[in-house]
C-alpha cells in the first residue's frame, strides 16, 4: 500500500519532504497520546487522593469526638507516597480542636506511628517535608524530638525556624518562651502573625515575665518591635511596663508604641509633657490616650491640643473631647463656642458631626 513511498522515481527533495511530513505526523500523534496519558494519570491520582483524604477525614472526625473511637477504630493501611497527605490531614484536624479532642487525635497519631514517621522525615532534603514533620511533631507534643527541633529554631531558613519555634512552644512551653522571647528582637524575618501564634499558645501568664524583661533590656528599636506583641501580656504587667517606659523613655518610637497600649484604667505619667512632644505622632497618641482615660482634669489639656500645628493632633483631640462621657451635647456646644481659633472650632465641628452632634 505504501509502495509509492519507496518508489525510486521520486527525486531526492520530494522523498525528503514526504519523510518529514510522516515524521511530524507520527510525533504529533505520539505527543497527543502522551498528553492524554498524563491527563488520565493526573485525574486518577487526584481521584484516589480525594478518596484517601475523605476516608481519613472521617476517621479523624470520629476520633476527635470519642476516646473509644480513637483507641479502637480500624486504621487502614497507607503507603509511603500517601504519608504527606495523611500528615497534612491529621494536622488540619489537630489544629481545629483543643482539649480532650486534641488528646484523642494525639493518641490516634501514636497508633499510626506518626512520631517515628515524622522523626524520619526531619532528615529529608525536601524543605516541605521537613516543615510538615516539624509541624506534626509539635502537634503531637513529641517530647523526644525536642532537642532536634530546638536546633532548628536557629536555622537561617525563616519558614523552618518559625515552624520549629511554634512546635517547641507546643512541646515544652516553659523552656521555649525563655529561649524564644529574647530571639524575637533578633529574628526580624519571623512573620509577626506567626510570632503572635506562639505567644498565644504559650499563654499570657507564661510569657509576661520574659516579655517584661526582654522589653526592658532591649534597645529603642527592639522595644518598639517587642511592644507590638505586648498586648498578649497579663494586664497588670502590661500596665506597669507601659507606665515605666513612658516615664523613662523619650524616644518617639517607644513612646508611640507604649501609648497605644495604655489601657485607660490609670493615670498616664508625664501626660502634660507628652502633649507637647516634638514628634507629632506622639502627640496624636497622647490625645487618643486622654480620650480613653476620660478624666475631667484632662479636658484643659485636650482643649490646648486643638491649637496644634498638626491637623491629625487637632483631629484626635477633637474626637477625644467628643467621646468624653461627662460632657453632654450642651457642654460640648459651649466648648466649641468659646474657641477663638477658627481651626479649633472647625475641627470640633467635624468631630461632633461624626458622632451625630452637628
Amino acid at each position: 500500500m505504501l509502495e509509492w513511498l519507496f518508489r525510486s522515481d521520486f527525486d531526492g527533495v520530494t522523498t525528503a519532504a514526504i519523510w518529514s511530513i510522516a515524521a511530524v505526523f507520527v510525533t504529533t500523534i505520539t505527543l497527543f497520546v502522551y498528553t492524554l496519558g498524563l491527563r488520565w494519570v493526573t485525574i486518577v491520582g487526584a481521584r484516589r487522593r480525594t478518596q484517601f483524604v475523605a476516608h481519613w477525614r472521617g476517621v479523624f472526625a470520629a476520633a476527635t469526638l470519642s476516646e473509644e473511637d480513637a483507641s479502637s477504630i480500624a486504621l487502614p493501611h497507607f503507603g509511603r507516597k500517601q504519608r504527606s497527605d495523611l500528615l497534612e490531614e491529621w494536622n488540619r484536624a489537630r489544629a481545629a480542636v483543643d482539649g480532650a479532642a486534641a488528646e484523642n487525635l494525639i493518641f490516634l497519631g501514636e497508633r499510626l506511628a506518626l512520631p517515628a514517621i515524622t522523626t524520619d522525615m526531619l532528615g529529608s532534603r525536601r524543605l516541605k517535608s521537613r516543615i510538615l514533620a516539624i509541624q506534626t511533631l509539635g502537634n503531637l507534643r513529641d517530647l523526644p524530638s525536642q532537642p532536634a527541633i530546638r536546633e532548628l529554631v536557629t536555622h537561617d531558613n525563616t519558614a523552618l525556624s518559625i515552624t520549629a519555634a511554634i512546635a517547641l512552644v507546643q512541646i515544652c512551653p516553659d523552656q521555649a518562651v525563655q529561649l524564644l522571647i529574647p530571639m524575637i528582637e533578633k529574628r526580624s524575618d519571623w512573620p509577626r502573625n506567626r510570632v503572635s501564634i506562639f505567644l498565644h499558645i504559650a499563654g499570657s501568664e507564661r510569657i509576661s515575665e520574659p516579655m517584661y524583661r526582654a522589653i526592658r533590656s532591649a534597645d529603642n528599636q527592639g522595644k518598639s518591635l517587642l511592644l507590638k506583641f505586648a498586648c498578649q501580656v497579663e494586664t497588670n504587667v502590661l500596665d506597669a511596663l507601659v507606665e515605666d517606659l513612658i516615664r523613662e523613655s523619650n524616644d518617639a518610637g517607644v513612646l508611640n508604641a507604649a501609648l497605644k497600649l495604655v489601657s485607660g484604667h490609670s493615670d498616664v505619667p508625664r501626660i502634660a509633657a507628652l502633649i507637647r512632644h516634638k514628634t507629632w505622632f506622639v502627640r496624636v497618641q497622647a490625645a487618643r490616650v486622654l480620650g480613653r482615660v476620660g478624666q475631667p482634669e484632662h479636658l484643659a489639656l485636650l482643649e490646648s491640643m486643638l491649637h496644634d500645628d498638626e491637623w491629625w493632633v487637632r483631629y484626635r483631640a477633637a474626637q477625644a473631647i467628643a467621646s468624653l462621657p461627662f460632657l453632654g451635647p450642651n457642654k460640648l456646644r459651649q466648648l466649641q463656642n468659646r474657641q477663638s481659633d477658627p481651626f479649633a472650632a472647625d475641627i470640633l465641628q467635624q468631630a461632633y458631626a461624626e458622632v451625630g452632634l452637628a
Binding site: L65, R92, A96
Partner: protein, 149 residues
C-alpha cells in the same frame, strides 16, 4: 450546601456557616452525630441564600471571617429578619481579641466560642442555646395566646 443524614431522627436543625472545608466537615459530622439536621453554607452568600429560602433553624453556628459577606454582617441581617431574629447564633471564630468578641455579642450573637474549639463544650453551648430558644418561643407563644384571649 449539604443536608444531614435523613436516616437519623433529627430533633433540631442547625445552620453551619464555615468556609474552612475541614472544619465544616468536622462540625457537620459532630452535629449529625448529636442528632442535628445540618445545613452547611461555605460562605456568606450561601448563608444569605439559606436564610432567604429556608424556614428558620433552631440554631446557627457562624464563623466571622467569611468570603463575600462577613459574619458580623450576617448577624446584623439575621437580627433584622422577622422569622429569624430570635434564632440563637453561636459564633465560632479564630478571632480572639476582646473587641471582636464584644462586637459580635453587641450585634446580637448569643454566644462566642474561639478556635481551636473543644467539641463537647461546643455541643453543650449549642444545647443550651437551643433550650433557651425553645423556652423563649414557648413563653412568647403563651403570651400571644393570652393576649388574644
Amino acid at each position: 450546601m449539604t443536608t444531614g443524614d435523613p436516616a437519623q431522627i433529627a430533633t433540631h436543625r442547625a445552620l453551619v456557616v464555615e468556609d474552612d472545608e475541614h472544619i465544616g466537615y468536622l462540625l457537620d459530622f459532630m452535629l449529625r452525630r448529636a442528632g442535628y439536621d445540618v445545613l452547611l453554607a461555605g460562605n456568606g452568600r450561601d448563608a444569605q441564600s439559606v436564610i432567604e429560602n429556608v424556614p428558620p433553624v433552631d440554631v446557627i453556628l457562624l464563623d466571622l471571617m467569611l468570603p463575600y459577606v462577613s459574619g458580623y454582617q450576617l448577624i446584623e441581617e439575621i437580627r433584622e429578619i422577622h422569622d429569624w431574629q430570635h434564632v440563637p447564633i453561636v459564633v465560632l471564630s479564630a478571632k480572639v481579641l476582646e473587641q471582636d468578641v464584644v462586637r459580635a455579642l453587641d450585634l446580637g450573637a448569643t454566644d462566642y466560642v474561639t478556635k481551636p474549639f473543644r467539641p463537647q463544650e461546643l455541643l453543650a453551648r449549642l444545647r443550651r442555646a437551643v433550650t433557651d430558644h425553645e423556652a423563649f418561643v414557648g413563653q412568647h407563644g403563651q403570651n400571644r395566646v393570652a393576649a388574644l384571649r
